[in-house]
């Protein structure tokens, strides 16, 4: 894991990606009890995203040049199945910009903040998101005021209200 994070940092230093942060199940696990997941979801801002281009091809090319290989929809980076996901909407862009910097065994990395993760679950709204959302709200240190502000600004408040008792 540490080595995989070092590779992600290298991609950022080399300008292959403008910014990255861990999202999805692994980010949720940062805040709650661990559960099984196959992939390390990594949200990325490509360097040219300001031009509206959200291609992951340069990331895959750079990793192939380093000797890493695809494993179904992921790249096997130092033994970790990494799935790169472009910041495809304003909520994820904001989450990426405000992600928490953390230290993993001496390697800096970023994890999406708990309130953004919860908002992304509400936005994505798959059955597994709804199931995870309930457990996440019980265990994660959520700032309700901050969460509601994010939900309101991204038009998710009404859906969230139907999810909460």
């Amino acid at each position: 894991m540490k080595k995989a994070l070092e590779v992600l940092n290298q991609l950022e230093r080399d300008g292959v990606i403008a910014r990255y942060a861990i999202g999805g199940a692994v980010a949720a696990i940062f805040y709650m009890e661990p559960f099984a997941t196959e992939d390390l979801d990594v949200f990325v801002l490509p360097p040219d995203s300001s031009r509206g281009l959200l291609t992951l091809a340069p990331i895959y090319d750079a990793l192939r040049a380093l000797g890493y290989r695809e494993d179904r929809e992921c790249m096997d980076v130092e033994g970790v199945a990494v799935q790169f996901l472009p910041a495809y909407n304003a909520l994820i862009e904001e989450a990426l910009h405000e992600a928490a910097t953390v230290d993993y065994e001496g390697t800096p990395t970023r994890v999406l903040r708990a309130e953004h993760l919860a908002a992304i679950m509400v936005d994505t709204a798959r059955p597994k998101d709804r199931q995870r959302f309930a457990a996440f709200c019980e265990q994660a240190p959520l700032d309700d005021e901050r969460l509601q502000d994010i939900l309101r600004r991204h038009g998710l408040l009404e859906r969230w209200r139907t999810w909460t008792p």
């Binding site: 696990i29 953390v102 065994e105 001496g106």
Partner: protein, 69 residues
């Protein structure tokens, strides 16, 4: 479990479960990742026997993860 102490025993079991969840939630991130890999290793043979592909990560030794303020 008798019929009379059933609800109390169930309540204690739920509280123990909740306490364990809180303990695990507070564990350092690398330790949690180590648990994820243990779960992957447990699930993999079952899922592969059913014909599903399932990945198990390779992991270095767990350490400490600290939040930067």
């Amino acid at each position: 479990m008798s019929a009379t102490n059933g609800p109390a025993e169930l309540q204690r079991a739920l509280e123990r479960k909740q306490a364990r969840r809180r303990l695990m939630a507070a564990a350092p991130f690398p330790e949690k990742i180590a648990v994820v890999v243990q779960l992957q290793a447990r699930f993999a043979p079952i899922l592969r026997a059913r014909g599903q592909e399932y990945r198990v990560w390779r992991l270095e030794s767990p350490g400490q993860m600290k939040r930067e303020v």
